[in-house]
C-alpha cells in the first residue's frame, strides 16, 4: 500500500513537473509590454561527493543537498517567477519551484501582492502582502531566489530559504538620495507575520546546512530518525515530518530593519550597502499544533555589500540569535546560534569566479539529556561560472563542508566522527 502511495505521489509529481515545463516553454513567448511577465529557470546538475554521507533530505545528517548514493545527474530545480500587473501600482507575484531527487516536490515558494504607489513626496513606500522571502539575503537576487554567485547558498541564506518566510505584511519606506540630491539611500522596513512558529527546528535537530532547496507552501521534510524525537522519545508530539510554515499559537511575529546604500552609483548599485534586521517570531515555546512544536526564535542580522568596482564585489553577512522550545531545564531545547560568511566575486566578460568562506555554530544551553544540539562548522566554496548569453549559464562549484556535531551519533548507524565532505557540482542552467 505504502509503495502504491509512493508510486502515486511520484506520478502526480511527474505530471506537475510536465505542466511546469510546458509553462517554462510558454514563458519564452511572453511579451514584455503585456501585464503578464514570466521568467523561468531550469537547472541540470552533475554532482559527486567523497565521504559517503547521507543528505538531510535522505534521512541523513549532512547539511548538503545530495547523498553519496544519489544519482550523479539531477534536475536540481525548475521554476517560474510569475508577475501579473493588476493595476499600474499593484502586482501579483508568485514563484513556482520543482525539485527532483530526494524529497521530490513542486511548490510555491512565494505568492504575494506588491503595492508600489507613485511617490507623492521624498519618501517612497512599498507594501508586500502574502508569502514572500525575508528581505535579508545579499546572495539570492536571481530568478527563483537563486544566487548569481554559486549553486548553493551560504549557511545563513540556506536557513532563510528553508525555515524562514514572511506570511503576512511588510512595509518599506525609502528615502532615495535622488530626491534630495544626496549620494545615499536610506530605507526602513517592518513586518508582521504568522505561520513561522516552527522556525528553529532544523537548527536544533539537524544543524546548519548549505544547499539550494527552498521550502514552499505545504512543504514538509523528513526528520532523521533521532530517538528523542517522535513517539517514545522525550519530544513525542513531533511528527516524523517537519513542516516549516505552521502557526502554533496565533501570536504574530515581527521583524524590522534598515538599509543604507552609500557612495557613487555603479552599474548595478551603490558602492556600499549596509543592513541591520531584528527578527522575533514570538512563538509560544510550549505550544504544539498538528505534530509541530512552537520554537521561539529570535535573531539579529548585519550585512555589507561592497561593490569595489563594477566587476568586483565583497559580501559579508552575520546572523546571531537563539531558539527555545519546551519548558524546564531538562525538558526543553534552549540554544544560541550564529553564522557568518564572507564572499568575494569577480566578473570578467562572461566569466565569474567566487570564493565564499562560512562559519556556523549552535550552542546547546539546556540540560536536557540525550539531546545535544551543539555544532561547530565551517565551509569553503569555490565557484566558477560562464554566461554564454541568451540565458545559458554553466557553473562549477567545489564545496568543502566541515561540521562537528556530537548529536549526529543519535542517528542509528551514523558514525560519531565530524563530517568533512567535499562536493563537486557541475550545472547547466537555462534562464528564460
Amino acid at each position: 500500500m505504502a509503495i502504491n502511495n509512493r508510486l502515486c505521489d511520484n506520478l502526480v509529481s511527474q505530471i506537475r513537473l510536465g505542466c511546469l515545463l510546458a509553462l517554462l516553454n510558454l514563458s519564452a513567448q511572453a511579451n514584455t509590454s503585456s501585464p503578464l511577465h514570466i521568467r523561468g529557470m531550469l537547472d541540470v546538475q552533475l554532482q559527486t561527493q567523497n565521504d559517503g554521507s547521507q543528505s538531510w533530505l535522505n534521512d541523513g545528517a549532512s547539511g548538503l543537498r545530495f547523498s553519496d548514493n544519489d544519482s550523479a545527474l539531477q534536475l536540481a530545480q525548475a521554476g517560474l517567477d510569475i508577475s501579473y500587473r493588476l493595476t499600474p501600482t499593484l502586482r501579483a507575484k508568485s514563484t513556482l519551484l520543482a525539485y527532483t531527487g530526494d524529497e521530490t516536490e513542486i511548490t510555491a515558494t512565494e505568492a504575494f501582492l506588491h503595492y508600489r504607489p507613485v511617490p507623492t513626496g521624498p519618501w517612497r513606500q512599498e507594501w508586500r502582502v502574502g508569502m514572500f522571502h525575508l528581505p535579508m539575503s545579499l546572495e539570492n537576487r536571481g530568478p527563483l531566489w537563486s544566487s548569481p554567485y554559486s549553486l548553493n547558498s551560504s549557511t545563513i541564506n540556506t536557513w532563510l530559504g528553508e525555515e524562514m518566510r514572511t506570511i503576512g505584511a511588510e512595509g518599506r519606506w525609502t528615502l532615495p538620495g535622488k530626491f534630495w540630491d544626496k549620494n545615499w539611500d536610506l530605507a526602513f522596513i517592518g513586518s508582521l507575520y504568522g505561520y513561522n512558529d516552527t522556525a528553529g527546528t532544523m537548527l536544533a535537530w539537524r544543524g546548519w546546512a548549505q544547499h539550494d532547496r527552498i521550502a514552499g507552501v505545504r512543504s514538509s521534510y523528513s526528520i532523521a530518525p533521532l530517538p528523542q524525537v517522535g513517539p517514545g522519545g522525550l519530544f513525542d508530539s513531533q511528527k516524523q515530518r517537519y513542516e516549516p510554515f505552521v502557526e502554533t499559537d496565533h501570536k504574530p511575529g515581527y521583524y524590522f530593519g534598515s538599509e543604507l546604500a552609500l557612495g557613487e552609483r555603479l552599474a548595478r548599485g551603490r558602492k556600499l550597502k549596509l543592513s541591520y534586521f531584528y527578527y522575533n517570531n514570538r512563538a509560544k515555546s510550549t505550544a504544539v499544533k498538528g505534530g509541530q512544536y512552537g520554537w521561539r526564535t529570535r535573531f539579529q542580522q548585519l550585512s555589507a555589500h561592497w561593490r569595489v568596482t563594477n566587476s568586483v564585489e565583497i559580501l559579508g553577512q552575520v546572523l546571531s540569535g537563539d531558539t527555545l522550545m519546551g519548558a524546564g531545564p531538562t525538558t526543553s531545547i534552549d540554544a544560541d546560534f550564529w553564522a557568518a560568511y564572507a564572499l568575494i566575486s569577480k566578473r570578467w566578460g562572461p566569466h565569474r569566479a567566487t570564493l565564499r568562506w562560512d562559519r556556523f555554530e549552535v550552542e546547546d544551553l539546556d540540560q536536557t539529556p540525550h539531546d545535544t544540539n551543539d555544532e561547530h562548522g565551517r565551509s569553503l566554496m569555490l565557484g566558477y561560472s560562464y554566461n554564454w548569453g541568451k540565458g545559458w549559464k554553466a557553473s562549477l562549484n567545489l564545496t568543502r563542508w566541515q561540521s562537528e556535531r556530537p548529536g549526529r551519533h543519535y542517528i542509528p548507524g551514523h558514525p560519531s566522527r565530524p563530517l568533512n565532505t567535499q562536493q563537486l557540482q557541475l550545472s547547466l542552467r537555462r534562464y528564460f
Binding site: 501600482t89 513626496g121 536571481g142 530568478p143 535622488k178 540630491d181 548599485g269 554566461n387
Partner: protein, 238 residues
C-alpha cells in the same frame, strides 16, 4: 523641441523691426572648477519690458510643442526647457511600460505610459523645475524646466567634438531672435545647489554678442543615470 516653420517665418518678418540679436553664452567657472558636462543646462533671459515679453511669449507659445520621450529606459532628452503653457508630450519609445511621475511643487502628476495607449499632453503653467521619475524603473531621472520667457536655450557641449573650431567654443548656449536691450541672464542645471542662483545683467547691443557666464560655485556632476547593466541571472539594486 519642434519649431513650427510658420513660426520661423513670422520671426523672420518681425526680426528687422525689433532689431533682434543672437546671444552666445559661454560657460566657465569662477570657482576654479573644471566644469562637468553641462549638456542640456538651461540658459534664459528675463526682460523688464513686460509688454514685449508677453507679446513675444504669446506668439512663440502658440506655435510651440515639446517632447519628453522614454527611450532605451531613459528620459530623452535628460533636460528639456519649455516656455510655460507649452504642451509637452511623453511618447514611450520602449517595448516596456513606463509610469512617469513628478511630485515637484505645482507640477505633481502621473502618467501611465503603456504601449498603444493615447496619453494627453501636459501643460505646465508655473515656472520652475519638474523633476521626473518612473515608478517602474527607479533609475530613470529627467527634468523639464519651465520658464516664463520666450528667450531660452540649452547648453551644447562641444568639448568632445573633433571639429577644432567648434571645440574651442567649449560649453555654449545660443539664444536667437532676442530684441536688443537689457536683460537678466539666468542659468539652471540639476547639479547646482537649489539655493544658488545666477542673475547676471547683460546689455545686448550687437547683432551677435557673446557673454561669458562664470559660475561662482562648484557644480556637481549630475549626468543622466544609465540603466543598470542587464544580467539574466541577477537583479540590480535599482
Amino acid at each position: 523641441m519642434h519649431i513650427n516653420p510658420r513660426f520661423s517665418l513670422a520671426l523672420a518678418l518681425i526680426a528687422p523691426t525689433v532689431l533682434s540679436a543672437q546671444l552666445n553664452v559661454s560657460l566657465g567657472s569662477n570657482a576654479g572648477q573644471t566644469l562637468p558636462d553641462l549638456t542640456g543646462a538651461v540658459v534664459y533671459l528675463i526682460s523688464d519690458d513686460k509688454a514685449l515679453t508677453a507679446h513675444m511669449a504669446e506668439t512663440k507659445a502658440a506655435n510651440a510643442s515639446a517632447e519628453m520621450a522614454q527611450h532605451k529606459l531613459q528620459f530623452d532628452p535628460y533636460i528639456r526647457v519649455v516656455q510655460s503653457g507649452t504642451p509637452v508630450s511623453f511618447p514611450n519609445k520602449d517595448d516596456v511600460a513606463h509610469h512617469v511621475y513628478s511630485f515637484s511643487p505645482n507640477h505633481a502628476f502621473e502618467l501611465e505610459l503603456y504601449k498603444g495607449r493615447d496619453v494627453p499632453e501636459k501643460h505646465f503653467s508655473s515656472p520652475g523645475v519638474v523633476n521626473l521619475g518612473c515608478n517602474i524603473h527607479d533609475w530613470m531621472q529627467g527634468y523639464i524646466y519651465i520658464v516664463d520667457t520666450p528667450w531660452f536655450s540649452q547648453v551644447v557641449n562641444n568639448s568632445g567634438t573633433k571639429d577644432s573650431a567648434a571645440k574651442q567654443n567649449g560649453q555654449i548656449a545660443q539664444i536667437f531672435d532676442v530684441p536688443k536691450g537689457v536683460y537678466t541672464l539666468r542659468f539652471w542645471h540639476p547639479g547646482m545647489d537649489r539655493k544658488e542662483a545666477v542673475n547676471q545683467t547683460i546689455d545686448i547691443q550687437h547683432d551677435v554678442q557673446t557673454v561669458n557666464l562664470a559660475l561662482s560655485y562648484t557644480i556637481k556632476n549630475s549626468a543622466q543615470p544609465l540603466p543598470p547593466e542587464e544580467q539574466f541571472d541577477d537583479s540590480s539594486d535599482y
